[in-house]
């Protein structure tokens, strides 16, 4: 189940050399080891995962639209990565702590991050937007890979307290080239830290294909650090959930870190500023559309009769409601006060910053009555 060492095998270049429980056409693949980890998932829970995925895709579309309409400065779509994010986030316990990048909006949604808090960064109102301690999720790291070390340190803290929660860090295929991620793997292994490294290999780091970052499967790197790894179909919500549960279980039981490579695809642009037509083909996108994470779960639910018209309508209504709430929340966000530039730079008073703030307040007063 877990790859413990780097072995020579002939399939390194095969994309679909991974654990899959749910085929793109919605049929189940039997996997004795992984199946046991999702055997308890009921039809009702599957419908709930389906709902999550539909809702976050709707959030994504709404945010993209808001960016196009000038209401957001930027947005990093997760389109195509719903299963990877929902399957893993829904496997977590409330007291597990998440360290993510900027694309884990579905993870944040699962954590109950308020929609306006989630969007405030993209509207240019904050650099993060929420209190990490209320949702047990750090604000997104834009510096690629930095969060992997934070998760490892947090996990070292968990271990020092002999608690049984786990830290999980999300990062991309590109991030695996950064020193920070590699250092995190070393620290996690050395200290048996209860941390899960969750790599969403979405095939691209902006315009660079994953081949620039890795000559072999990314998951093969971890064993060299002494960290067992799994490679799963990241568009298969069940496989992702099973793998995450395995990793969490190992960590809670004192087994230390685990690395998961979720093989998925960024169906949208890198961000709303990006133009993928400059570096990748339409055919590639079309091919991945055939592996859509939502369609296959939909097909499974249809085959079992769990997806009635009524359920479908309910899910759609929920997605519409969330999108409406999101839009309303974004548009009615209050502009921050000019002098808030000076807030929260330090935890304790800072003499010259106070002086600067006071001088800038005096400056602003000279415009009183003007439009500014």
């Amino acid at each position: 189940m877990l790859r413990e060492s780097v072995t020579e095998h002939g399939t390194a270049d095969l994309l679909e050399d991974f654990v899959q429980l749910l085929k793109p056409d919605g049929s189940r693949v039997a996997n004795p080891t992984f199946d046991t980890w999702v055997a308890d998932v009921t039809d009702e829970q599957l419908v709930s995962l389906y709902e999550d995925m539909v809702v976050v895709r709707r959030i994504d579309a709404e945010a993209t639209a808001l960016q196009r309409q000038g209401e957001l400065g930027l947005w990093a779509p997760l389109l195509g990565q719903e299963a990877a994010q929902i399957g893993s986030a829904r496997a977590l316990r409330d007291d597990d702590f998440i360290f993510s990048s900027y694309r884990e909006n579905a993870v944040a949604y699962c954590r109950g991050v308020a929609l306006t808090d989630l969007l405030s960064m993209w509207r240019g109102h904050s650099h993060g937007g929420w209190d990490p301690y209320t949702v047990n999720m750090a604000v997104p790291a834009i510096i690629i890979g930095a969060q992997a070390l934070h998760a490892t340190g947090y996990a070292m803290g968990i271990k020092a307290e002999a608690a049984d929660s786990v830290a999980i860090t999300y990062f991309g295929d590109g991030a695996t080239s950064q020193g920070d991620v590699n250092e995190a793997l070393v620290f996690a292994a050395s200290f048996d830290a209860p941390v899960v490294f969750f790599c969403q290999n979405n095939q691209w780091a902006i315009s660079e294909p994953v081949g620039v970052q890795a000559k072999r499967h990314i998951s093969e790197r971890a064993p060299g650090f002494g960290i067992p790894s799994m490679r799963v179909d990241g568009n298969d919500v069940l496989a992702v959930m099973a793998a995450t549960r395995i990793a969490l279980d190992r960590a809670r039981g004192g087994g230390g870190p685990t690395f998961i490579e979720a093989v998925t695809y960024r169906m949208g642009p890198h961000t709303t500023s990006d133009d993928p037509s400059r570096y990748r083909t339409k055919d590639e996108l079309e091919e991945w559309k055939g592996k859509d994470p939502i369609t296959r779960l939909e097909a499974l639910l249809e085959s079992t009769g769990a997806l009635s018209d009524e359920v479908r309508a309910r899910v759609k209504a929920k997605a519409d409601a969330v999108a409406g709430e999101l839009r309303q929340g974004v548009i009615s966000m209050e502009d921050p006060h000019p002098l808030s530039v000076f807030d929260n730079v330090y935890a304790e008073p800072h003499s010259w910053l106070e002086r600067q703030k006071s001088q800038y307040a005096a400056y602003l007063e000279t415009f009183e009555g003007d439009e500014r």
């Binding site: 400065g73 510096i143 315009s207 530039v341 910053l353």
Partner: protein, 339 residues
């Protein structure tokens, strides 16, 4: 034979043509950075260069800034002239160690046997409504580091010329590109034989009452400020510093001896900044000529704020003129201010 071609280009395209010339003129020049190949860089500064010069000369690097700079050191030791692209200002820090501990010091460490003809291009500064780490002005860290040259351009012509000069330099050069001016247009002459040398400042506009020193993205703002001041009967001499290490103090000194007043402006935070260095050095050099204490108009000593607050953080025309009023002893925002 020199071919003279003068064209209207944006600052970004002028950098592109500078890189193209450098690649064509010297086959030891190689470009390395994230997304600089097929994409042409996120600002398209390297647009078309990989197609023209191939993948061994225009290299899409793995996503690691320490890797980009560290391998450039090795390439330089093998006789290449690497031009590194750092995608945004705020992403230079993973490469900081390689820059300040290796690139800056190898010539010194090897008693001059090894030179580091590395150019590190950095789009910098704010004003584009970006998310965190995309609007910073980290030039002071590098100007503070002995062994590095630090330059920044404000016009398409300087962008083109200075980039080619930087690549030709046997010293490492941090080349800061004012990203919000990438789309500013100007005439560019590719014949740069008689161009101003890399370390020199330029007097952009002559004046008599106040010397206003700035660089990079704020030069355009200062040009507008000087024009507005003139309408108000105030004569500003405007200097575009161009080089931040070394700083062309002779040019600044000559100007301050004439005007007696000095205002320095940059987007970077004030504390320990380029403005502090200029104020101190000019005070040392021209104390007896100064009619007022030098004053600075800079970003605040805060992290770069979220985009909706950046108009406050960034020095603008009004803040520049308010400070000009201050050194002139005219009514200004601090006239009645008490600490």
């Amino acid at each position: 034979m020199t071919t003279t071609t003068t064209t209207q280009l944006t600052l970004g395209k002028a950098l592109n043509s500078g890189l193209r010339r450098a690649l064509a003129d010297d086959d030891r020049v190689v470009l390395i950075g994230e997304d600089i190949g097929a994409l042409g860089g996120v600002f398209r500064v390297t647009d078309g260069l990989q197609a023209e010069f191939g993948e061994t000369r225009v290299i899409d690097s793995p996503l690691a800034e320490s890797g980009i700079i560290g391998t450039a050191v090795g390439l330089a030791m093998r006789g290449f002239r690497p031009v590194c692209e750092i995608q945004f200002d705020g992403f230079i820090y993973p490469g900081f160690d390689q820059i300040v501990a290796q690139v800056a010091k190898l010539h010194y460490r090897t008693r001059g046997h090894v030179s580091m003809p590395i150019t590190i291009r950095v789009p910098y500064g704010g004003g584009i409504g970006a998310v965190e780490h995309h609007s910073e002005s980290p030039e002071s860290y590098f100007a503070h580091t002995a062994g590095l040259r630090v330059v920044t351009c404000s016009t398409p012509q300087d962008a083109h010329t200075m980039l080619r000069q930087a690549i030709a330099s046997d010293d490492p050069v941090l080349f800061f590109e004012p990203k919000r001016r990438y789309w500013a247009k100007g005439e560019v002459d590719e014949d740069i034989a008689d161009a101003l040398p890399l370390g020199k400042a330029r007097v952009v506009r002559e004046g008599t009452q106040v010397t206003l020193v700035t660089y990079g993205p704020l030069v355009a703002t200062a040009i507008d400020a000087a024009a507005a001041a003139e309408d108000d009967g105030v004569s500003i001499e405007l200097i575009d510093l161009r080089s931040l290490s070394p700083i062309d103090f002779d040019t600044v000194e000559a100007s301050v001896r004439k005007t007696g007043r000095l205002v320095i402006s940059h987007e970077a935070q004030q504390h320990g900044g380029i403005g502090a260095e200029i104020a101190a050095s000019i005070t040392e050099r021209c104390f007896n000529w100064l009619e007022a204490a030098p004053a600075r108009v800079t970003g605040f000593d805060t992290p770069y704020p979220p985009a909706s607050l950046e108009e406050h953080f960034l020095p603008d025309l009004d803040r520049m003129l308010d400070t000009v009023d201050r050194v002139l002893g005219r009514p200004n925002s601090l006239s009645n201010w008490e600490a």
